[in-house]
Amino acid sequence: MKRPAFLPFAALLLPVLLGLIVMMGEWNRRLDRSAALVALASAQAIGGTPYSGARLLLSGPILQPRDVDEKVFRAGSDVLLRFRKSGDDWVFVETRAPGEGRWNASTLDVPARVERARYGGSAKAVPLVPKEFAIPESAVSRIRGGARLRLSLRRGALGNVWVHSAVQSADALGDVVALLDGPPGTPPVAVGSAMFLLDPREFATADGSGWMAPIADLKIASVAAVPGRPVGAVTLSDGRILVAATRGPSDRGIDLTVYGPDGKSTGEPRHLDGLLQALAADGSIWMEEGRRGSSGGRLVRRDLSGSRGAEGGLDTGEFVFGARDDIVGRRSGAMVARDRIDGGRLAETDRWPLDSVQGACLRSRDAIVASARGGVFLLKAGVRQPETLFVPQSGGASSVSCDEAGDVVVAVRLAESRRVYEPRAEWTEHLYYQPAVGAFVDLGEIRGEGGEGAQAILREPSPRMLVRNGILFYAVRGQIAVFDIAAKTLKARIDERAGGPSEKIL
């Protein structure tokens, strides 16, 4: 067959076209004389699949679409979104017609395009700023849940805004998976993006009897990096701290690391395969091993050396919400159960059918607190009828947290709104506290943005609350709320960086 003469030209023109893209891209960057401006953004890392690589998704004020009046700016047109510097971040001012645009330390005009959502609705100006990046798979585990990045943005010689760099602060709190108390005189520990000590020196009391007075400008200090993504932690009976972490969002296994009370690691991490269900103060680790089939899953207790102990089963939809000594609490959406270890196997001792169970915790070996449709209930071993502890006046799903002393915190979600283009939800929760002995105390509302959703919190295997000297620390969605119980007021919120070395992501 004779090869057509034009064919080589047509075929080899294709890589030439690609070379044009590279040339224009390099030109946009290398000839860029604009100033690098810093903007803050939240980051979410998504692990790769067999068909796509790992990706980094950004969100923040600069990246957020803005409503526009379609009579002024029609769909399909280009506009500028003006931002003004406010503290560390940028605040949206107005939408403007396209033009030269400003790009300086105090005023920023971001190019945007007006779009209309698929099925009607209002028009929105979508910023033409990169929001998604392909990243190495190894970077996924380094990016913490709820990470905050400092982006360095530049305008580009050809007008394409590009991200010069993105840096993750090493000490952002992240989503706190456990709040751990310690012996008197030792600081409590928060396990989130790293291990943090709530440094008592910042708020020692005048008479030295305790601390937390006055509560102002609460500080945290990072003492240890936790490799991977922490999913649970517990204070062992000897005062050491056991932390469980996964290597990535799709990892079905955990790395267990033991730290001393000062936050220093005491040995190499031990890896266990399976899904973490619960951690107990005696060093028991409850894991769901293997894949859950139609007949249920296998629940296994292991100790710190990895040796297998007791075994049990998990039906479809069930998981463990707590373990203490020889007692394990299980729940699904329709029931709460209490099991006891008997001869190496878990035997069910009590079962309470409840409608739409949203959360549960072990208040003691013989008492469980559960939130379900109709309120919050106390389930006592040997008593079939649940006792109503509390009925929220309003709100939706509620979560419950208990500590070793038997205190309970109930968080009722009042609102959660997520705009169409915005992955970070704004939420409001109302907190109620009940001591081991006493009535419920209404602590009021807390608000925030972003963080793990309520459903994710409800399945955490670690305590998220602790009480010291009349002060309640409660970890929720990327922050630690600090309440003065007697005064029933929110005294402080901890969600800021504590400084320290940062890590370049892009």
């Binding site: 067959m1 004779k2 090869r3 057509p4 034009f6 064919l7 080589p8 047509a10 075929a11 080899l12 023109l13 294709l14 890589p15 076209l17 690609l18 070379g19 044009l20 893209i21 590279v22 224009m24 891209g25 390099e26 946009n28 960057r29 790769g48 067999p50 068909y51 796509s52 690589g53 990706r55 379609e70 029609r74 769909a75 399909g76 047109s77 280009d78 190019p111 395009r113 007006v114 779009e115 209309r116 959502a117 698929r118 099925y119 009607g120 028009a123 033409l128 990169p130 998604e132 990046f133 392909a134 990243i135 190495p136 798979e137 970077a139 580009g156 394409n160 805004v161 590009w162 991200v163």
Partner: protein, 426 residues
């Protein structure tokens, strides 16, 4: 005439049988037939009018001859062709997945080198395989060139994202689609041609998004795709003069696109409260009418080439031209932009009937088949729409079952009759 026809066919076949049938090109067949017909004319076996009519029929069936053409095309059996095509698709999927999966792990230099190098290497391998000589392997050459196209598309998208481009127009993608189409015709590759059609649709979809402010896939705005499908359809008519096989593929692609877009418009459940383009939205009007204008232009070019050919005029002018004008004008229907109306259902039904008629006149069984399928879909959709809420479920499903069975049998008879008419007409 009948004995003469059998003499013509026998002599033509005798001549062809002497050659290697598997390697004979369409143009060589045509050359042989034409030379025989002229010979019979000179020998007095055919008068002038008969000779001209037979020559015109050969021209329509086998396409215009190209002087000095020396092409021999290898034709595989259907089974091997299917295997090669599926293998190419699998390799293309692997290539695209490799780029997408590992892109994040590559540094900037590696990304650039692989983005340029992989398409270049594949293109060179394709050109080498197509080079005449003892090592020539045309089928493999087509595979490599198709993979070049896929690699180019993957690299275009990933490089644009890496460099943070937010283009206003898909100029690069249009150029790539044109190159793919040119290469497809040069090497006679249907897969590459379909890659070109899909690339063109993606580029056009981006333009619709960019000009009209819709979501990227633009499924909420199928109206411009009616025009694009018609333009591809007319392009297929023209392309049959270059390669009948690939021209047929374009006819099918155009019919599919037009009918699918019209079907979406006709669905009751389809909500497309899209903004009517205002006077200032020049881009939106452009993407709406430009494909219709292009189709009319191509139709004019095709008609000029085949001046005086009654068959072509009947195929193009009556169904196609009327569809073009009807749909272009209906874009001005005010209600169409705010709610679904009876116009959409009527247009879709008309289009399926016109498509079948066009298929008969153009001699394309594939177009007939596609149009018949969409007609059946139309009947099914209207039936569901009108009677679902009016009847009890038992009656509805019983009636629908009867309609599908009896209607399917009737439609198949109509389809076979239409396809038979192609044979009779030729």
């Amino acid at each position: 005439m009948a004995p003469l026809r059998s003499v013509i066919r026998r002599d033509s076949l005798k001549e062809i049988e002497r050659r290697d049938w598997a390697r004979a090109a369409m143009s060589e067949i045509r050359q042989v037939l034409e030379s025989h017909v002229r010979g019979w004319g000179n020998a007095g076996l055919l008068d002038g009018a008969q000779r001209d009519r037979i020559l015109a029929d050969i021209a329509i069936t086998y396409g215009p001859a190209r002087a000095g053409q020396d092409q021999t095309k290898t034709r595989f059996s259907v089974g091997v062709w299917i295997l090669l095509s599926l293998g190419t698709l699998a390799m293309a999927a692997a290539l695209a997945a490799w780029f997408a999966r590992d892109w994040g792990d590559w540094g900037r230099l590696t990304r650039v080198l692989l983005s340029l190098g992989v398409p270049a290497v594949l293109a060179l391998a394709g050109l080498f395989s197509l080079k005449p000589g003892p090592r020539s392997f045309p089928a493999l050459g087509k595979v490599f060139l198709t993979l070049t196209a896929i690699a180019t598309l993957s690299a275009t998208s990933l490089l644009s994202e890496s460099y943070d481009f937010h283009p206003r127009h898909a100029a690069m993608t249009f150029v790539e689609a044109a190159l793919f189409a040119v290469m497809a015709f040069l090497v006679d590759s249907a897969l590459l041609l379909w890659t070109a059609v899909i690339t063109l649709s993606v580029a056009f979809g981006f333009e619709v998004y960019s000009c009209w402010g819709s979501t990227w896939i633009s499924i909420a705005r199928p109206l411009p795709f009616v025009g694009l499908g018609l333009a591809i359809l007319v392009g297929g008519l023209l392309a049959r003069g270059v390669s009948r096989r690939l021209g047929e593929q374009l006819l099918v692609a155009g019919t599919l696109m037009t009918q699918t877009a019209l079907y979406l418009l006709s669905l009751k459940a389809f909500d497309f409260r899209e903004p009517r383009p205002t006077g200032e939205m020049i881009g939106a009007w452009l993407v709406l009418f430009a494909p219709f204008a292009l189709a009319l232009l191509l139709l004019g070019a095709a008609a000029r080439r085949r001046r005086g050919e009654v068959t072509f005029a009947r195929a193009a002018a009556i169904p196609l031209l009327s569809m073009l004008l009807l749909f272009a004008l209906s874009s001005l229907w005010p209600g169409r932009f705010y709610e679904r109306s009876w116009v959409d259902g009527v247009l879709f039904t008309l289009a399926t009937i016109a498509g079948a008629f066009f298929g008969v006149q153009a001699g394309s069984p594939a177009v007939i088949n596609v149009s018949v399928v969409f007609f059946a879909l139309d009947v099914f959709s209207r039936f569901s729409e009108w009677f679902w809420e009016e009847m009890p479920a038992v009656s509805f499903f019983s009636l629908m079952g009867l309609l599908l069975i009896l209607g399917g049998i009737a439609l198949e008879r109509v389809r076979r009759r239409l396809v038979r008419r192609i044979g009779e007409a030729s």
